[in-house]
């Protein structure tokens, strides 16, 4: 995920915002089905990797898309890539970066 904000939020603030968005949209039961967890967060690059179950991927994508603020400051979170394993995700992102660079 890429965080589009003027100042990078702290990891806790980011994950709390995502949980809040999921709970608001799908309720506590829906949120519990996502098995969501923050894997890595790079505040300088404003990128994060989160884990979720495949069944709730689309719900999580929708919930993340509804985020318009973090810490009451205007922000957006975009999903850059989705993959089954961290290794494949890294490869996917690398390919994306090379393609963007060429373009």
């Amino acid at each position: 995920m890429r965080i589009d904000a003027d100042e990078p939020p702290e990891a806790k603030e980011l994950i709390n915002t995502i949980w809040e968005a999921v709970t608001k949209l799908y309720g506590e039961h829906g949120a519990s089905l996502t098995s969501m967890a923050l894997i890595t967060y790079n505040a300088d690059a404003k990128t994060a990797v989160i884990r979720t179950s495949l069944e709730t991927l689309n719900q999580l994508r929708a919930a993340i898309a509804t985020i318009t603020a973090i810490r009451n400051k205007e922000a957006a979170v975009h999903v850059d890539a989705v993959s089954g394993t961290i290794k494949a995700l890294a490869q996917k992102l690398q390919t994306q970066n090379v393609t963007q660079h060429k373009a």
Binding site: K24, N58, A62, A65, T68, A76, H78, A103
Partner: protein, 243 residues
């Protein structure tokens, strides 16, 4: 074949720096074609500047006009004046009469309902039937969903679900647009599709609503606006004495 994505509703004021921000953000998020809403009075002056600016971001820009007529007469008058000047015409329907006229007029591309009150949204059976006979598509601005929360969002989702069901039943094309008043409210095409699942639009239908459906409208209108166009199905291929 790889999908290319289109956002038919980008607000812009070419006199401010926001337009460049909007266009660069749209390109960054993966769109290749955007329709920028311009004020009808400044169409001729701003079109060239817009296309030039969009090309710096490798974007194809189409010109869109948003009409908000108070009467059917005002609508037909505006359509007569503007149809040959822009690629996309959207009508914000604020009364039933305007909504009905817009749905049956083949010069209208998009029907937009902005009210959060279900009684002020006029996309019902009759409207869908008229839209099917005409060429108008139902436009859903995703930004509205992002800007509200709580009961207002619940009501809006219920309205959108009903309208989308009707549009599907009557084969009225659905268009997902950003309609974002600031660049941070722009979303990636797949994020728009995920949000569309909230009002029961399937994944493939939602992806069509941000790719083939809107691109088809621009393509159709560009053909009509080209000097070779004579009538639907008739194009000028060659002219001169040797024809």
């Amino acid at each position: 074949m790889r999908r290319t994505f289109t956002d038919l509703h980008v607000y812009a004021d070419l006199r401010s720096a926001d337009t460049a921000k909007f266009l660069s953000k749209a390109a960054e998020l993966g769109y290749t074609l955007v329709a920028v809403s311009l004020p009808p009075t400044q169409l001729t002056q701003q079109v060239e500047a817009l296309r030039k600016l969009a090309s710096t971001f490798n974007l194809d820009a189409a010109v869109r006009v948003d009409l908000k007529p108070r009467s059917t007469g005002e609508l037909t008058q505006s359509l007569r004046r503007l149809r040959r000047k822009c690629e996309v015409i959207a009508v914000t329907c604020e009364s039933k009469e305007v909504a009905r006229q817009a749905a049956k007029d083949r010069r209208v591309d998009l029907l937009n309902f902005q009210s959060f009150d279900s009684r002020r949204r006029f996309f019902d059976h009759a409207e869908a039937e008229l839209a099917r006979q005409g060429l108008a598509a139902l436009e859903v601005d995703v930004a509205h969903l992002l800007m509200v929360s709580g009961s207002a969002r619940v009501r809006l989702l219920a309205c959108l679900r009903r309208e989308v069901q009707l549009a599907k039943a009557f084969n009225v094309p659905i268009i997902l647009s950003s309609g974002a008043p600031n660049p941070r409210l722009l979303r990636k095409p797949r994020e728009m599709a995920a949000l569309a699942s909230l009002f029961s639009l399937g994944e493939m239908e939602a992806l069509d609503a941000v790719s083939t459906n809107p691109a088809g409208i621009v393509k159709r209108n560009r053909e009509k606006l080209s000097p070779e166009f004579v009538a639907p199905g008739i194009r000028l291929i060659k002219e001169g004495k040797d024809c």
